[in-house]
């Protein structure tokens, strides 16, 4: 959900206004996060209260029952995907600063992993962070609501550190077990927004992750025969990519599954799409 959504509850800037909690641009680290953390709690409290409301206010025109009957068979909405990002900046500090700033982009992630492997868990997994932006995967158009967002501190052109990948693997293990996230659902920001995004960069070790059970990969393709009538765009769409811009979809696929930054389509790419898409029945 973006800022100004019609969802009930107050957004952070409204609460900040009410509580006169203006997050300072500079100042001591402690004080800075102290205020942001206070705002975090106030917001969760406000969102929780929304759940207590009944009946809903905006249900005009409906013949509601006179007596309200609630069901005890319920839960909290959970993530089904994990989306990996790179921060495209130089330090953890910059990212923490951005994600604790109200107004502006109002971006966030559930986790930020610094270059030294330190993990910042900035939002409860069960809440919705604002990391995906306009995006699509399969028929799903609200990836924020159905995913966990993980930001890796990385300038976009450097390799990811060993410490970072170690922490990431431990975190993914926990998330996979906690929310029963399917192997195929560990994907990147650029996969869900191929026309806008390139992260994580081609240096991200997707194959290593896949070996550990996070994300799918392909095997030896030497003996693979691709049928003549195989429509590779259908293949990409079945894997999950939006194909309204075919070039962007091919580029994102090659970056993710071939560590290749070019856009050219060729027989080898077609082969790998063919091998992979059949795992996405």
């Amino acid at each position: 959900m973006q800022k100004g959504s019609v969802l009930p509850g107050k957004d952070s800037s409204e609460i900040a206004d009410e509580k006169k909690l203006l997050v300072p641009g500079l100042g001591s680290l402690l004080a800075k996060f102290g205020r942001a953390n206070e705002l975090y709690s106030a917001m969760v409290d406000s969102l929780s209260r929304v759940l207590f409301r009944y009946p809903l206010i905006d249900s005009a025109g409906l013949t509601y029952s006179a007596e309200w009957i609630g069901t005890p068979n319920m839960g909290l909405r959970r993530p089904n995907y994990v989306i990996i990002h790179h921060t495209a900046n130089n330090s953890c500090e910059e990212t923490l600063q951005e994600f604790t700033t109200t107004g502006g982009r109002e971006a966030s992630a559930h986790y930020v992993i610094c270059k030294d492997g330190t993990v910042h868990h900035m939002l409860n997994d069960l809440l919705c962070s604002h990391h995906a932006g306009e995006s699509k995967w399969g028929n799903n158009t609200d990836l924020n609501s159905s995913s966990i967002g993980i930001e890796l501190v990385n300038n976009g052109s450097e390799p990811f550190t060993e410490e970072q990948i170690n922490s990431l693997a431990i975190l993914l293990e926990r998330l996979k077990a906690a929310y029963k996230i399917p192997d195929a659902h560990f994907i990147g920001h650029a996969d869900i927004a191929p026309t806008r995004k390139v992260d994580p960069s081609s240096k991200f070790p997707w194959q290593t992750l896949s070996d550990k059970g996070f994300g799918l990969w392909w095997d030896d393709t030497t003996v693979v025969q691709v049928p003549d009538n195989f429509d590779y765009l259908m293949g990409l769409r079945i894997i999950g990519y939006g194909i309204s811009n075919p070039d962007a979809a091919v580029a994102a696929f090659k970056r993710h599954f071939m560590a290749d930054n070019s856009r050219a389509m060729n027989a080898q790419v077609r082969k790998i799409i063919y091998v992979l898409y059949r795992k996405f029945e």
């Binding site: 759940l51 905006d58 609630g70 604790t100 966030s108 993990v119 919705c128 604002h130 975190l171 399917p182």
Partner: protein, 260 residues
């Protein structure tokens, strides 16, 4: 036991309503927990920094069901018994009365084992609507009237995309056939809820058209191909037969291209 006792008094859902409120409070508490307890092995930051930019997870699909029961009363009872562990956000009775049984932002247990596109946790990403219907009868006009009003509100409130109004039988084609084939999907689509096809007389389906891949792109799980074809035909052709036909291929060919 408490539920059975309460069932005899006039405010017969007072007890289960209390359970509802208690559970919501427990979930609200859970959201405030930090740090998460099961994070063993990770080098967590010494100082916690919470983000200020977030919201509640909201639904992206609407799943329509029929109750396969004989009365609204029966369904309300099923959904208020904790041991059944089933529920939906809304129940719409034959007379058009709407029961809103669970807050939209919470997760109801209506989908069961299911899949649509790549999504495997439809409960977490959808609103469930149950229509009081025994499974073998048409849906009443009053019921459809209430349903359309409700869908309109949900679509606006959660920016639900047009293609994402679907049926239980679509997301669980091997297990489910609801809403039954009499459900007026075309009317829904004309109102902006779900996709439909137009005149197919001049449509030429390419010889090498891979219809199973197309069904998968629409969203159906194609592990069981017969079930997928049956689910597709029930929804888009109001036809309960299992075989792929040239006419069904034409419809599919028109439709799948809308799912880019």
């Amino acid at each position: 036991m408490i539920i059975l006792f309460a069932a005899c008094s006039p405010g017969k859902y007072a007890t289960t309503n209390k359970v509802y409120k208690k559970q919501v409070k427990a979930y609200a508490k859970l959201l405030l927990e930090y740090p998460v307890k099961d994070s063993a092995g990770l080098p967590y930051a010494a100082e916690w920094a919470g983000t200020t930019n977030f919201s509640m997870r909201s639904p992206n699909y609407v799943i329509i069901h029929h109750t396969a029961q004989n009365s609204c009363e029966q369904t309300l009872r099923t959904f208020t018994l904790a041991r059944t562990q089933v529920s939906s956000h809304y129940v719409i009775c034959r007379d058009g009365t709407v029961y809103h049984m669970l807050h939209d932002l919470l997760r109801a247990h209506h989908a069961g084992v299911s899949k649509w596109g790549n999504t495997t946790d439809l409960n977490s990403s959808s609103i469930g609507i149950e229509l009081d219907n025994n499974g073998f009868e048409p849906f009443s006009e009053l019921q459809m009237h209430s349903l359309l009003l409700l869908l309109d509100r949900l679509k606006k409130a959660y920016s639900i995309p047009v293609p994402n109004f679907i049926g239980h039988g679509d997301i669980a084609p091997t297990r489910k056939n609801d809403p039954n084939w009499r459900f007026p999907w075309q009317i829904l689509s004309e109102n902006g809820f779900g996709l439909w096809w137009s005149d197919t007389t001049n449509v030429q389906v390419p010889e090498n058209f891979d219809y199973l891949n197309a069904i998968r792109i629409v969203g159906f799980d194609i592990k069981d191909t017969t079930a997928a074809i049956t689910g597709f035909k029930r929804h888009f052709l109001q036809d309960t037969t299992k075989r792929m036909t040239p006419a069904a291929q034409k419809v599919l060919y028109c439709l799948y291209k809308k799912y880019q």
